[in-house]
Symmetry: C2
Amino acid sequence: MTPDGEARLLDPFLKPDTVAIIGLSRSAIGSAVSVHTTLLDMGYEGKIYIVNPGMETAPGATVCKTIRELPDAVDLAIISVERNSVPQTLEACATHGIRSAIVITQGFADADEVGVRLQGEMDEVIARTGIRVLGPNTIGVVNSPARFTSSFIEVTPDDLPVGQVSQSGFLMMGHHLVTNELAGYCTSIDLGNGCDIDLIDVLQHYETDPSINVIEVHAEAIDRGQAFMESASRISRNKPIVALKAGRTSAGQAAVASHTGAVAGQTRVADAALRQAGVIQAESAEELRMLSKSLATFGGMKGRRVAIMSFSGGGAVLAIDALDRAGLELADLSQLTKDKVRRLFPDWMDVHNPLDIWIPVAKDLNDAFPLVMNALLEDEGVDAVMCIYCSYNLPKYDLYDASSYIRDLSAANRGKPVVCWSYGQDIEGFTRTIEEKRSAIVYPGLDDAAHALAALVRHSENMNAPVPPEDCPSADDKEAGRTSDAILDSARAAGQKYLFTEAFEILKAYHLPVARWAVVRSQEELECAAADLSEPLCLKIDSPDVIHKSDVGGVVLGVGKGQELTEAYRSMKETVARNVPGARFDGILVQEMAAKGIEVMVGMVRDPAFGPCIVFGTGGVHAEIMNDFSFRIAPLTERDAREMIDETLVSRILAGARGGQAADIDSLVDVIVGISRISMAHPCISEIDLNPAFAGPGGVHLVDARFILAGDEPA
Amino acid sequence: MTPDGEARLLDPFLKPDTVAIIGLSRSAIGSAVSVHTTLLDMGYEGKIYIVNPGMETAPGATVCKTIRELPDAVDLAIISVERNSVPQTLEACATHGIRSAIVITQGFADADEVGVRLQGEMDEVIARTGIRVLGPNTIGVVNSPARFTSSFIEVTPDDLPVGQVSQSGFLMMGHHLVTNELAGYCTSIDLGNGCDIDLIDVLQHYETDPSINVIEVHAEAIDRGQAFMESASRISRNKPIVALKAGRTSAGQAAVASHTGAVAGQTRVADAALRQAGVIQAESAEELRMLSKSLATFGGMKGRRVAIMSFSGGGAVLAIDALDRAGLELADLSQLTKDKVRRLFPDWMDVHNPLDIWIPVAKDLNDAFPLVMNALLEDEGVDAVMCIYCSYNLPKYDLYDASSYIRDLSAANRGKPVVCWSYGQDIEGFTRTIEEKRSAIVYPGLDDAAHALAALVRHSENMNAPVPPEDCPSADDKEAGRTSDAILDSARAAGQKYLFTEAFEILKAYHLPVARWAVVRSQEELECAAADLSEPLCLKIDSPDVIHKSDVGGVVLGVGKGQELTEAYRSMKETVARNVPGARFDGILVQEMAAKGIEVMVGMVRDPAFGPCIVFGTGGVHAEIMNDFSFRIAPLTERDAREMIDETLVSRILAGARGGQAADIDSLVDVIVGISRISMAHPCISEIDLNPAFAGPGGVHLVDARFILAGDEPA
């Protein structure tokens, strides 16, 4: 139930009062790999039914021959019948009034054509009957508070306030590894093929589940990308979401048509989307576990300033490297802190961060350790403390055991994360002591500790980030939208695959700074148009029959006015007519070249899941090779656009590096936001390239535009 | 002793027959933190003396009042007297005939000015008496075969054939963590401040030590860089060297003057040097340990093709990501392999790499697991096998225990590495079994396993890499060297900080393709010179008093011949004279602009440790921002130069991307190798910038050159 008493979608899956196991073989009774065994071993207190026509009895459960024999009030069916029988089993469940089912059986859309068809049949049953399904191809759920699971392998319950959602059961079973916790989560849900219940359903459940403070996600694909972003953006301001995006190799990337498409592979789009939604990404299964435990333990971290206290100078140097890699800073210790600890150190040692405390500790740990640690925890310039110590779990080394100090002092100062790294002969005992009060964590490596701190900083930033305004098109935008829709409708009606002069018209409708142009059909029109334009000019043929203009003499650059222009016009018309016999002639585009400024690229590619992804970066013919791009999912605010610019190398050139004049960044922001608006308003545009766009001190000049229309092949 | 019977430098440090502990306090007898205790606990069988005027007796040792009372045949002194007494203690040891000493005492060059002075005094004693010293500021050595240590903390002996050398004791003490081995090495040497015995001494010792197969290095600084490269390059062809280079932040980087200097920070130079010397770099202390254990266990790996067998499909997807990140490949399974295992899988499952073996294993592990694993090990298209399995060390899950199969089948197929990753409730027991025969390794994460495989491939490549030819200057080079020396001598005699036209002369002497130029001092000379040059031309003022030429009108680009040239010459002379009153006039450089081709940069910065570091990459005014560079330590072969080009993004533009004409790569290789030769021949040149150099289809044109002379401030 939600706080306002509404029953929630996932409640029957996570805490059913009555469960029916359908498809359990007789050999599964007493077997180690069996839902029935696991449920009993976990101490589930609800009522268990088993449906099996050939079974007589089973311990702790009531056996029924058929689904129809089940009592009325079964909350959840756990189905593991062979795949061909799954659709009719679901149908029978629904008919019998069961509203929720976990389908463990494999061999559906994850497998062959038959499996795809069978999953389609499941979809049909779900749509028709309203039964809700988790799976197929899942081990289902583990929920510690209710001592309930559908897993056929034992998982030890935990009360760490982490809720896991995964596309594979392996995270559920191996999660405790590296975290020094029992299971490492209190609830876990394996989506399997996700034919019905999906990632967003689970996020929304965890959002209001009071036992969950941190949400941990493992996903190979995110299908409802825009819905995901909406939920994740909202949730991540309160509860951190940590995600491991698996399946990152290029093999599965879709073919794309434009520059923008080529640089914005699906992995980069998904990374941009997750980041924008406030999701903290982990790079491995181990990091996922450590980050979610860290966020559950510490909540957040105010700034990036870390103090290091280390039994080893060499270890401290490695810690500095790790902090640097993670984008953290060495705290400057206050004079007060230095004064407090000065007496512990020999005269010849300078007291600064990192503090190499071996000499004071070797002299008297009980004097030195708490004094140093307290001084660091009390220093207002320190946001977290990193402890590197020696752990010898042998009686003869008791004098050097700092573990209870770390435990107690961190517990007394929960506002500041205390992260630890140990070396020595036996770290297990020390780790147990240090983590006893859940106020400090021992990490397997210094980079793990540093990544955890960076994740804490990130979550604190998420919590404090301004809420972006609603994306409401202005009256001006609505007008531009109507104009553009008319242009697009007409182009699509004419069967155009991409836009040429129409792209400039749309950009102009949205008040973007297109270099001035005209389309002319005669020498007279040319002269008239040229009067308003500044040289140098370029000419491009406008014909629906000419795609690769340059190849047939359909592009001429750097033309001066007057006789030169007249001659170029005449010559192009003739050349194209000769090279492409019968080509229709819609006119010739005459445009100011305006190539003043730095070459940048602004573009959009429409991702099937996340929608329009805006790209900005170094432009020019070699843009893809230079690979200097930033990505965001539309709609964009001006702030987003500025961040996108800042993330690229070309931003430093735009800022006026090496004596160059600074470009007009505001104007560039307008272009980026404008492309976002166009992309949001016109879903029929699948890709946009403005490359190169010239960004100079006087503003941006758009001289090249390529709009590709949806559903069409690349030109 | 070496194989030929010669006593080796480090033998007295690693296996002394007699050792004297000098500076041991009375309280250290029986203390847990005491060399004396540790030596006894480790079972050292040599003779132990303790020098302490206030001590009567000590268990297992003979106590002497003074050094003079020691017997004649002491192999090694272990000194921990307070720092002021260290130099005279060393002196007394030397006088008494002790040839080797470990100085544990801290507070030398690692500390304050007094410490620096004291270390200087130590240096003087070492130089004068010939005593050899390890330290100061070290915990010394651990050597399992001799059961000897100078560490004051216990380390458990091991026989893993790893030799460690470190600048800090913490690696010695924490090395076993994550490796599932006792100590994780059989010998370890902490260099401390390294005032005498250094990294290269230890490398050379391990090179011929038959108990060492893998050398593991932790270094914060590498002082004798060129000697290091010479030794490491030779050794790494036989015994792999794995290194963790610590102290990577920019704080400590020296100020530099040129583009090349700015992009070639010390970390990048050191990384390039290590790589070139065949050293395998680790990114963390944990990775260092895992890589050295992996190399000690597997030796190498023939190719990059990995087969994955996994209890979990989701785990297999993560494994693919990890292999991809590490630059490895998914093996294509042979038809034979597929035929062998086909019967295990349901019809609807496609049999391919990765193999998701859960269904066959759940049915009958004893049938499925060895069949699949053997098939993969026998497949000639598979270079390594990655096993992902479930480890439940509980009797009820014995049916799913694959550990003894992994152990035995890997031991029977030692040619192919078997790397493992486990999930489940208890991996320790499984890990012990799997690693029992040292034929398979269980890693903490999939990326660890993938990095280990990549290191194995790297070592196999090192072993098979061609030996670079000796760098012998040709007669032609010697002639160029003499010409250039004369130019350099004259410039230095004139107090020049950098070279202008002289740089072109040196480049020309080495037959590098300088754009044609002349220096003219009059209108007549100008006309005469221009006759031989093609337009457009550029003019640059040549005056020792004008450093920033552009700022005072001393550079004009794109000048045509004839009146335009005459006018530009006259105007520049006047403008500079007006802007820099009294500036001397050595002439005006007239040069073909020849700006055809791609802008690249070739440069050199002389590293204090490693010598000339050659840099190649994207050129132009924004080269530093685009940050597209590769690095190598000179001397370079043509092969090195080609690799340098291939490592950059600009190489793809040079190859003729997007319809561009391909540049003449051979000509570019000549320039890079030429800069290497110039750098080797003329140590007085501290930095070289050729930026931009234009690389086109017709060859390279050098139009800009900046040579900075050693010992001078940047211009």
